[in-house]
């Protein structure tokens, strides 16, 4: 799980060992009739272009502007998120946890890489990495420091280790100075990291 994630070592014009291995594997699986290569293309396209943190940002912006929606989200996140059309694989059982003046939530999967795909897409490398998985539970403040986030020492930090098929979405605090903003504008303030808990939502001055 080292961080040198790009194994596309450039041996002249040669392909990396993994590139060759996975290409060969794909051709074996297609030849045997186990895999439809067009299905692979659709899977990749889905997670590269369609599903991502912009989905979760819509959920958060709606919760910030609609108290009834927020209440539904905190009571039954799976159903509330499905209202916006986001559901399915790796988001079958959702729980939303709310950041407040007193409480900050941080989500991790120490055992593998569990992450709420329908609202956040596929996890970034750091989320799956040993530094994050090892330290988020024992020293979350130092992990937050790695992200440049310093919270008051009396703020309660709640870490959620995704050890089952429950997937967690952090509802970040709504930033000040955007009181009259609509849902679409607010969504632009919602970062991926703010929905994991390793960041805060942007403030209006941070976006143009």
């Amino acid at each position: 799980m080292h961080d040198d994630h790009d194994h596309d070592h450039d041996h002249g014009s040669h392909l990396s060992d993994m590139e060759l291995r996975v290409r060969a594997l794909e051709s074996i699986l297609v030849e045997k009739g186990y895999v439809d290569p067009k299905a692979l293309d659709v899977l990749i396209e889905t997670y590269e272009t369609k599903v991502g943190p912009h989905n979760g940002a819509k959920v958060v912006a709606k919760a910030w502007t609609d108290p009834h929606y927020k209440a539904r989200l905190l009571k039954d996140a799976t159903a509330a998120i499905a209202e916006l059309g986001f559901m399915g694989r790796q988001g079958e059982h959702m729980v939303a946890v709310e950041n407040t003046l007193l409480v900050h939530n941080l989500v991790v999967c120490t055992l593998c890489s569990c992450y709420p795909w329908p609202v956040l897409g596929l996890p970034p490398v750091w989320y799956k990495s040993a530094p994050y998985r090892s330290r988020a539970v024992i020293d979350p403040r130092s992990v937050l420091a790695d992200f440049g986030v310093a919270l008051p020492s009396d703020k309660e930090i709640r870490v959620w280790d995704s050890t089952a098929e429950i997937r967690y979405l952090v509802l970040p605090e709504r930033p000040a100075g955007a009181d009259d903003w609509g849902e679409a504008e607010l969504a632009a303030l919602v970062t991926r990291d703010s929905m994991i808990g390793t960041g805060l939502a942007k403030v209006p001055g941070e976006i143009s």
Binding site: M1, M18, G33, L111, I138, E165
Partner: protein, 219 residues
Amino acid sequence: MNGAQDMGGMMGFGPVLAEQDEPVFHAPWERRAFALTLAMGAPGGWNIDQSRAARESLSPTEYLAKSYYEIWIAGLEKLMAERGLVGSDEIEAGKSLHAPKAVPRVLSAERVPAVLASGGPTQRIAVAPQLFQIGQHVRAHNVHPAGHTRLPRYVRGRVGTITHVHGAHVHPDSNAAGRGENPQWLYTVRFSARELWGEAADPTGTVSVDAWESYLEPR
């Protein structure tokens, strides 16, 4: 299994390095590795717990040396070899050497959106009464199963409080071992950071894990 995947509380891995404008995949082969792993679930017929168990069965040395999608490919190769779908000789040769095995189904491009939208819910009808209630103190068993489990080492033997009840869910230890889903009540258990890590820990901090009933005992 007390493998390298169970990382909570380990030290020495260095800072968390976030990447600016990170792409979803970092090399073309990662795209295919991701998609092949998802697509092979249909013909392979294994469950998510067996997939995780296959990845965790790498020796700690290998697990820590491999990148994320390298671990996925190693897990996929193992699952396929166990079922006689693709032999290790074929992986070695880089080409098909044996006739294909009959498989229950193949994922078509047309079916991908529906398959992703339905996902794999793990909640089941409860077959036993719920043993623990919200607010109750419970101790995580001090157990070290040789097979797959989702009870991280750092909570074993520790006392926490039930905060959520999620209904009955497929039991991963059983499902990974091919002993059936055997659904059990699933709870969120909140531990104080001091209970887990000692008096030097943040006094207000907590860590919650989701734990099946058989992982817990009344305190």
